[in-house]
Symmetry: none
Subunit: 127 residues, 4 copies
DNA sequence: GTGGTCTAGACCACA
DNA sequence: GTGGTCTAGACCACT
């Protein structure tokens, strides 16, 4: 067995920002909070905030203008990919763990189809 | 956002033992490894091993006979419940996270039904 | 006119390491100094050393094994590319500046061909 | 390794003025901009501008007439020397760095001769 | 104000 | 020992 270790904070924040992008709370071209603001929002250090934006930039999700700010990339396509990736990871993890518990695909389908629909879903603008 | 913190080791081991029960690798009435052996298997401290059996006992999953050993409960019903609980947790987590990503139940059903069936599943004796 | 600004230390060190690779002082698969050692050698902070290795890793020039060390990539091809890139930059910079001074290609060729050959070149094992 | 430090601004401006002289944009005997104008053009402090002219004067490249202005020296010979010096520095730096990368003089000649000729060179009146 | 770099020092996980 | 993360605080360049 492998012990699960804690995800580094900077990755957790990245995950959270990615989710906001997918949910449409952050849109292509939007200005992201300044490093200082991000540090305050997430109660992290400014250096950690800087690393987060550096990593996001390396992934092509945002770009930076010195003295101005950091902005989400304009290309919506890469955010659609992001959504597919996240969904794929969730699906794979779920199917494998259910399989380990002895559930067949049919059984899983049955469980999913019996799961209560999220009612009164807050209207959001997902990508 | 809430930061995810590491699960304590004793809980991770309990999860693993529960999975083995559900998978039928451990059967009702089976003798569990001694505290000393469990500590070795999972590379944990003997005190942690003792705590694990104490917790499992509190949940009614096993009982201890001094000088003899620790044994899985005979009542298969509570292990079936266990399976349902674990499956329920997985299902809930999956559906909620997919929902947050903007997937409807129909979309999820479609993804699940398109997921490749685990072929050549090792023959196991799940409860 | 644009004022030339100081290259960040971490980039200067990266340049130096790249040069050592091209010169064959560091070979594919070699273990690089530990972060602590690099910090001492270059009189920089450990965090800066870590960043240097992180950047080199992002560029595919090395890989890291936690608790073990950082190693140069095995693929010699990417180091050959590195040499070509560095040479291309130098060439471009030189030709353009000479051009700005009013030298034609013929004049430059004449100057280069009149430049004294490096005598007694220390035998090195360049890629 | 030695860390490269930023060139002082006044030296950078001097380099730029020298380049303009070599390029013939400034000719022997020409009146140079007033200290005030130079400060504006290069976005520098007037004191820095004054220092620049003082240094240029020390090198014999210009002379100052109180109340009239600063003028480039009449003697074209010293500007020819300037051009040779600059070219020599560039050449030396280039040859040495290419040598460090493992390029022989032949290889360098081949690269230089393969470098695309600057086409449609703006007609300039280099010394 | 913005982002970018650097340091000093701490703690953790892995081996 | 190794690398990985995080913090606190500083200074710089750009606008």
């Amino acid at each position: 067995m492998e012990y699960v270790t804690e995800l580094p904070i900077y990755l957790q924040v990245i995950r959270d920002l990615e989710k906001k992008i997918i949910q449409g709370k952050l849109k292509p071209g939007d200005r992201l909070p300044s490093g200082r603001d991000l540090a305050v929002q997430y109660k992290i250090n400014q250096n950690t905030a800087a690393r987060i934006y550096r990593e996001l930039e390396d992934m092509g999700y945002c770009f930076t203008r010195r003295g101005i700010g950091t902005f989400l990339a304009e290309d919506e396509a890469i955010f659609r990919m992001l959504k597919q990736e996240r969904a794929g990871e969730l699906l794979k993890g779920f199917m494998e763990e259910m399989g380990e518990l002895g559930f067949t695909k049919e059984a899983i389908l049955s469980l999913v189809s019996g799961y209560p629909e999220k009612k009164g879903a807050e209207k959001e603008n997902h990508i």
